[in-house]
């Protein structure tokens, strides 16, 4: 306990910058040793931020008095018999009476609750203060009272004790010795002594804890429905999913995709991060500074999600190289951020990300702290799942509706088998795909392979000794060599047009974002859906190079006329029979979007220009990052800086000028051969995702990803759903079989990924719930393993 003099100087220090909340906030922002929380009285600051935020400082003593009195009264009511068991014994009630209202019964139930709490309180972290007997009792009482008074929270939950303990520590730390306080005559000192009265540490800590829990209780919330429902609706799981699949995906897609690919379920580490407000992640002193900043700027804990994202960004390079267990280990033992960028700077980052909720914001932060910036993240093309929308609810529903549009990688293996697909990757038409490929090491593999491929083609021209090689790749269409270059040229053309289409949807989305979503909600939704439809169309085209694009005039390079008459009508197919191309609920919307005249017109656009190279990411400007200008802004629209940060805007000018009517059949050009994908000879069907879906391992496919990955005009999606075993059943081929097979397989490869596979396939629970949580999975593994290895 501090002396009166020390406390007095601290008291003055606390209010040196001014007694208003804004003054305190500003002072806390510069978290140096002079922060009012460090040099002054932290408990007073916390109370100001959390309890008295909207009250003038003159009212603080009164507010404190009221809260203390009310807590005392409640304690008398609920803790009477627990603190004074002799009073219970004095009652004239039969202790064994079978009456649920009997105080005996209540006490027995209370004691059970208290025993449960005590078990955790006695296991608080090492801080000796926590283990002093009176402190233990105090923490126990506060938690017990909180549970008593907030039955909706559903009782005590492990973790609350570690949220409370630092609060108790802070309040107790600032308490002033009453003996010295009473002796003073100065009214200001009397007031101070009253505010810091050690007799009310418990009361004040309870008030602070209750306030924090107003927001934090959702982290502990458990639905009272059935087990299955509880898992699906569990807020912490939902929140974790949001952080991973929406926020991180938007800010650092490469990292989000990587975490998804290595099967790290976000709630595994986020539960602890969030429930304890990062209490276990950082050293105690740093944690307090972090809490100072959180309470000062985000008392309702709305920034938690973005703080988590900021933490992930800080270790993103480590994570990108990590496999499953390494990644989990780095997140469960988060590396201490070196000064001066201690944990409190995550709040700054989160505020920055709130205002720059996009890939550029992520790039800026990554560069700021690591000096490296992600290769091409800023050129990200928003897929429908990442449409910027300020409202998360809308966001989520949109995400769910367009889920089928994702997972372009699932087809990478197939693309590899098709020269057109390879070219598609190479030419960068599908920026998004390229990007993902880059992240997953595909591109290098593809480039290497393509280099080899081209060399071999030259070899073919020279020797003409093995025409079969060419034929096996490109079907039976004449001598291989001219075909090859022609095909490649055609594909390049096709890809650049696809790129233009993508670009157009990007710019319309960006436009939408910059409009701030004012005005008609339906219009915006429609616009977003149109964009989504376009993106899906491009995706379909990328997945299946035999799909012709709606054509514009092309130079007559196609003298060999590879394409067959049936393909001439392909564009119509692509547009009118969308269900063939896309499955899932997104289809309906796409269809709707495409059927409206304007949108149909808008959905197909081709550039007149030569293929545009991918726009390079803008040079990173770390100085762009300034969080100072929104000190007091709590509710900035997240998309404020969309225009200046949009790297692909220049491109949109070139592509928006030319639009084609989709129904006009194209000249017979564009696409490659009509033959089935070259390697799929009739004699040796190559197992693909489709066959996986048909096999007894279909249970491995998670419904959404499976369906979307099968999209692309493959009729197998039908058979997929029929083969898939009923949820909750034994699971098709049997989990044991899957696990055993994969282990065997993994042993043969010295592949670092095998751990993930073994984890995934080692006897998978076939229950529906876990299936639902295993977002993605099988397709990435089957699709990517060989490629990665090749790279």
């Amino acid at each position: 306990m501090r002396s009166l003099t020390d406390t007095k100087s601290r008291w003055e220090e606390t209010f040196r910058a001014g007694a208003g909340i804004a003054d305190l906030q500003r002072a806390v922002k510069f978290n140096g040793p002079n922060s009012p929380c460090a040099a002054g009285l932290r408990s007073v600051c916390w109370k100001a931020f959390l309890l008295w935020r909207n009250a003038p400082s003159e009212l603080w003593p009164e507010l404190a008095r009221e809260a203390r009195a009310s807590y005392s009264a409640l304690c008398d009511q609920h803790l009477r018999f627990i603190r004074h068991p002799e009073q219970l014994a004095a009652l004239t009630i039969d202790p064994l009476a079978d009456d649920p209202d009997s105080p005996w019964d209540t006490v027995r139930k209370d004691e059970t609750v208290r025993a449960e709490i005590l078990q955790d309180v006695s296991r608080l972290p090492d801080e000796p203060f926590y283990h002093e007997a009176p402190v233990q009792t105090m923490i126990l009482d506060i938690l017990f009272m909180y549970c008593k008074l907030n039955p909706s929270v559903g009782g005590y939950r492990q973790g609350m004790h570690e949220l409370l303990a630092p609060i108790v520590w802070v309040v107790a730390q600032d308490a002033v010795d009453r003996a010295t306080a009473i002796s003073t005559d100065d009214p200001a000192e009397t007031l101070m002594a009253e505010m810091l009265d050690p007799a009310f540490v418990e009361h004040d800590a309870f008030a602070l804890f209750s306030k924090v829990m107003e927001s934090a209780s959702t982290f502990y919330e458990v639905d009272n429905g059935t087990e299955l429902e509880a898992q699906q609706r569990n807020t912490i799981v939902e929140r974790s999913k949001y952080i991973h699949e929406v926020a991180l995906m938007k800010i650092d897609e490469e990292l989000a995709v990587h975490l998804r690919n290595i099967e790290v379920l976000p709630q595994i580490f986020l539960i602890r991060w969030i429930r304890l407000l990062f209490g276990r992640e950082f050293e105690f002193g740093e944690l307090l500074t972090l809490w100072d900043t959180i309470f000062a700027y985000d008392p309702t804990l709305e920034l938690m999600d973005l703080i988590c994202v900021a933490m992930l960004l800080r270790i993103r390079w480590t994570l990108l190289e990590a496999d499953y267990s390494v990644a989990l280990q780095s997140m469960l033992k988060y590396p201490a951020p070196p000064p001066p960028h201690g944990p409190h700077t995550f709040v700054d980052d989160a505020m920055y990300l709130r205002d720059h909720f996009d890939a550029d914001g992520g790039v800026t932060l990554i560069f700021k702290y690591t000096g490296k910036s992600p290769a091409s993240t800023s050129a990200t093309t928003p897929t429908p799942s990442r449409v910027p929308t300020p409202s998360f609810q809308k966001f989520n529903s949109l995400r769910q509706r367009t889920l089928g549009a994702r997972a372009p990688l699932s087809t990478s293996a197939r693309i590899l088998q098709q020269p057109g697909g390879v070219e598609a990757l190479l030419q960068g038409a599908a920026k998004n795909m390229i990007q993902r490929g880059e992240k997953l090491g595909i591109n290098q593999a593809v480039r290497d392979a393509m280099g080899e491929f081209r060399r071999n083609v030259q070899g073919l021209q020279e020797t003409r000794s093995t025409p079969n090689g060419g034929r096996s790749l490109f079907g039976e269409a004449g001598p291989p060599t001219p075909d090859l270059s022609l095909t490649i040229t055609l594909m390049e053309r096709r890809n650049s047009r696809l790129a233009a289409m993508l670009d157009e949807s990007v710019s319309s989305l960006k436009l939408l974002a910059t409009s701030g979503l004012e005005g008609e909600k339906e219009q915006h939704i429609e616009a977003v859906e149109i964009a989504a439809a376009k993106v899906q169309f491009v995706k379909a085209c990328l997945e299946d190079p035999t799909l012709a694009l709606p054509e514009e005039e092309l130079p007559p390079i196609n003298t060999l006329a590879i394409s067959s008459p049936t393909e001439v009508s392909a564009p119509t197919v692509a547009l009118d029979t969308t269900p063939v191309v896309m499955t899932s609920s997104a289809v309906d919307e796409t269809r709707t979007a495409l059927s409206t005249p304007e949108s149909a017109k808008a959905s197909i656009a081709s550039p007149k220009k030569e293929p545009q190279p991918m726009p390079l990411p803008p040079a990173n400007q770390p100085d762009e990052m300034d969080t100072d200008d929104h000190d007091e802004e709590d509710t900035l629209p997240p998309l404020k800086s969309e225009i200046t940060h949009s790297p692909s805007r220049p491109l949109s000018l070139s592509s928006s000028s030319s639009q084609v009517i989709p129904d006009s059949p194209p000249p017979s050009t564009t696409t490659t051969t009509q033959q089935p994908t070259p390697l799929q000879r009739p004699t040796g069907p190559i197992p693909t995702r489709s066959t996986l879906a048909q096999s007894s391992f279909a249970w491995m496919l998670e419904p959404d990803t499976a369906i979307s990955s099968l999209a692309g005009g493959r009729p197998h999606s039908v058979s997929f759903s029929s083969v898939r075993p009923p949820i909750g059943g034994g699971g098709g081929g049997g989990p044991g079989g899957g696990g055993d097979y994969s282990t065997a397989q993994q042993r043969k490869r010295a592949n670092p990924n095998r751990e993930r596979n073994a984890f995934l396939f080692g006897e998978v629970t076939a229950d529906g719930v876990s299936g639902g949580e295993a977002a993605l999975s099988a397709d990435q593994i089957f699709g990517l393993q060989p490629i990665r290895r090749g790279g």
Partner: protein, 220 residues
């Protein structure tokens, strides 16, 4: 990075009431550490240790969760892929033994039906406080087809044995299946290569051949 070589990776979960010593069993097995005042587990912890069984390197990935986490946020993620479970109770707390039935139900509801379960009566160092006789544990285990062992994480009694038991039974099972599957898949792979890889074609289709071969491995 986890570059260490291993033959099998087994995920083993620890379950049981709060405070029965799950985290200390984990730290004793993976780091040979015991912490008398270890903190309550929040969410999930996990650690790995590689051991040799039957000339095979087994990497054990041990998952530990909060005892209160039953029916909670991570149940399905927790059990997914687990091949073994240590169902732990505290021999000095009869309630933790009574709750074993509930944990068993949860296992049956969420884990794979082939999961190997071992009932573990922990804290045998608390001899003077024993509330659950060894016989009770044994009987319960045999009635329910579980293995049984009593351990003391504090005294490091039987901890390795408990984990080894789980891992060994899985290893034996896997080895048997592994032999079948590996010969089968080798044959299939050979067939695949024969079909798709014609040496006369040189390197021409190395790209696609590689991709398709690998893919077939995954799908067969």
């Amino acid at each position: 990075m986890a570059n260490d070589e291993y033959d099998f990776l087994f995920k083993v979960v620890l379950i049981g009431d709060s405070g029965v010593g799950k985290s200390n069993l984990l730290s004793r097995f993976t780091r040979n550490e015991f912490n008398l005042d270890s903190k309550s587990t929040i969410g999930v912890e996990f650690a790995t240790r590689s051991i040799q069984i039957d000339n095979k390197t087994i990497k054990a990935q041990i998952w530990d969760t909060a005892g209160q986490e039953r029916y909670r946020a991570i149940t399905s993620a927790y059990y997914r892929g687990a091949v073994g479970a240590l169902l732990v109770y505290d021999i000095s707390k009869s309630l933790s033994f009574e709750n074993v039935t509930r944990w068993l139900k949860e296992l049956q509801g969420h884990a794979d039906s082939n999961i190997v379960i071992m009932l573990v009566g922990n804290k045998t160092d608390q001899r003077h406080l024993r509330a659950v006789p060894t016989e009770d544990g044994k009987n319960f285990a045999s009635e329910n087809g579980l293995s049984f062992i009593e351990t003391s994480a504090l005294e490091a009694t039987n901890v390795d044995l408990a984990f080894q038991n789980i891992l060994t039974s899985n290893t034996l099972r896997r080895t048997a299946i592994y032999q079948i599957v590996s010969s089968k898949s080798l044959a299939e792979e050979g067939a695949d290569v024969g079909k798709k890889f014609d040496p006369r074609e040189g390197n021409n289709i190395s790209l696609s051949q590689e991709g398709s071969k690998e893919e077939s491995k995954g799908c067969c």
